[in-house]
Symmetry: C2
Subunit: 324 residues, 2 copies
């Protein structure tokens, strides 16, 4: 098909797989811009880590480790294993030598590069594009913001903790009572351009609260999308009442939402006109429409590249139908 | 022998080998304190690197790569090799993805730990002691200062450049017209304690200008040593008019000194009473004495642990003779 310009509002693994499908579904991948959540970004051992950007980049480069879903394939862990020596000597309360946030030796190069460019004053937008080009990724990848913003979650057991503490260290296995986005951040110019002017905006099948949520928390984003919601299609990350990966389902319940495509529709109704749901949720189409979104049901589990491509094609077609 | 307390004013490789000899020459290594140059310290890819401290620590741990003289044995270079991808995409003028300062994967753990501890506000003194304990090194290793100070050199070809630019990138293969120590730094409390109170102070066979020089540049150091020069013995890093390693010989000439044990004596005469020289320089003993230092000639090339131990024993004996 002739390629409209497409902005994809993106988190990590689910968005990355959707983007890979989209690349194979269009004639000209350079018309695609991924606007990626950076509120999970963190500094570990002094290194600037951007987990969702790296997951998107590595996936589109065909270099992601398919089993872990993060980091590079054919990875080694010598630096991390060598850190073990220092765990015994760090003072009480120090988080130096922490190894729960695992960084492979190949992956470290990306963080070393990003950190060095940061120290030189480069924006995350510029760095992300350099890394993308180094991996020959054919789409634009832009951070949602060039400013620092950090997701935290309130937990009963541990109080307010960083997103990576919650997600990686605690394996998102604790109940969350609130989500915060700490920091004053503005939409990056490239992200704004794409949201305002893309022919189609897709909200990727990512966690609505902690992947898409931080992007929506930036000034103007909901306003921009609401003003053009006929151009905006969302893909549900909830299938049959469950998240395929990550804590979206129980987190939605903990925060007062329904863990279903209907709950997703209620969240996205102000900013998107169509919700693509899995065929197992076809019986909920009326409820989704009742929540204010047109509903398209299709196989949405991206277990193979062909399925990801098919989901992307259906999503694009739904957007084009809507705009016609 | 019963062990006096010994402070060793130290640079990198030569000092590290001397210290290893000293450890094997005394009954109680815990009486030894290495006061180590930190003016070569640098930040690369955002990581805090302390080359001389690491060379001393790794050498005394028996873990140094004996051929390179720096870094760890059995090292891998996956992270550095993976940086190559980013060289092609960094903008002109960026030094990100530089690989001339090579960091092995095992060695990276030390820099990750030091960087994380720095970010937590720990002093370099505290961090250095933690790293030392992680490697079971039996002596005290203290940085000359907890403040930032950086050696730069003036060169005809390149102007004023950082020490690592000169030493590593340019292989110390350019003429130097001046040396500067940039930054305001004070002697660390532990270094001051050792210099003021050790029974014996040894100036290790390190570069007098860029390894020992930065330590002497700190306020009070020359004053402290001059006041107790009968307790201070220096070991010449110049043997037969040449440096065994590094640029000390041509740098001395470039900066107006004589590249000989006599030139070394003229530099150290104000702060040390004895100069230990190699046996090949025994014929210069009178000239050394003429420059104001007692001269002890002995085999000083530390090509084996036994030779390093013998040199350390002679050096200690010379100090004890002097004080008797």
């Amino acid at each position: 098909m002739s390629t409209p310009s497409i902005a994809v509002v993106s988190g990590g693994v689910g968005a990355a797989r959707f983007l890979a499908g989209l690349v194979s579904a269009v004639d000209d991948p350079s018309a695609i811009t991924a606007i990626v959540n950076t509120a999970d970004d963190c500094e570990i051992h002094g290194l600037a880590i951007s987990p969702d950007i790296d997951t998107v980049t590595y996936t589109l480069a065909g270099a992601i480790d398919p089993d872990r879903g993060w980091g590079l394939m054919d990875e080694r862990w010598i630096a991390m294993e060598s850190l073990a020596r220092y765990e015994a000597v760090r003072p009480t309360g120090s988080s130096a030598a922490n190894r729960w946030f695992n960084l492979g030796d190949r992956d470290l190069a990306t963080h070393l590069y990003r950190t060095a460019r940061r120290a030189e004053g480069a924006t995350l937008t510029a760095i992300t594009d350099e890394v993308r080009r180094a991996w020959d990724v054919p789409i634009s990848i832009v951070p949602m913001t060039d400013d620092r913003i950090a997701t935290t979650v309130d937990t009963v057991e541990h109080g307010e903790i960083s997103f990576q503490d919650y997600f990686v260290r605690l394996h998102h296995d604790v109940a969350v009572t609130a989500v915060h986005f700490r920091g004053e951040a503005r939409l990056s110019p490239a992200a704004r351009q794409a949201l305002e002017h893309a022919d189609v905006v897709v909200i990727a099948p990512s966690n609505p609260l902690v992947s898409i949520g931080p992007i929506r928390s930036l000034p103007d984003v909901d306003h921009i999308l609401a003003a053009r919601r006929d151009h905006v299609v969302a893909v549900s990350p909830i299938v049959g009442g469950a998240a395929l990966k990550g804590p979206a389902d129980h987190m939605m319940v903990e925060l007062g939402h329904e863990a279903s495509v209907v709950g997703v529709a209620r969240l996205y109704q102000p900013i998107a006109s169509v919700l693509v749901v899995d065929e197992v949720d076809a019986h909920l189409a009326d409820a989704v429409e009742g929540a204010g979104m047109r509903c398209v049901a299709t196989p949405s589990i991206m277990s193979t590249p062909a399925r990801a491509r098919a989901l992307a094609a259906v999503t694009l077609a739904a957007a084009n139908d809507r705009m016609r």
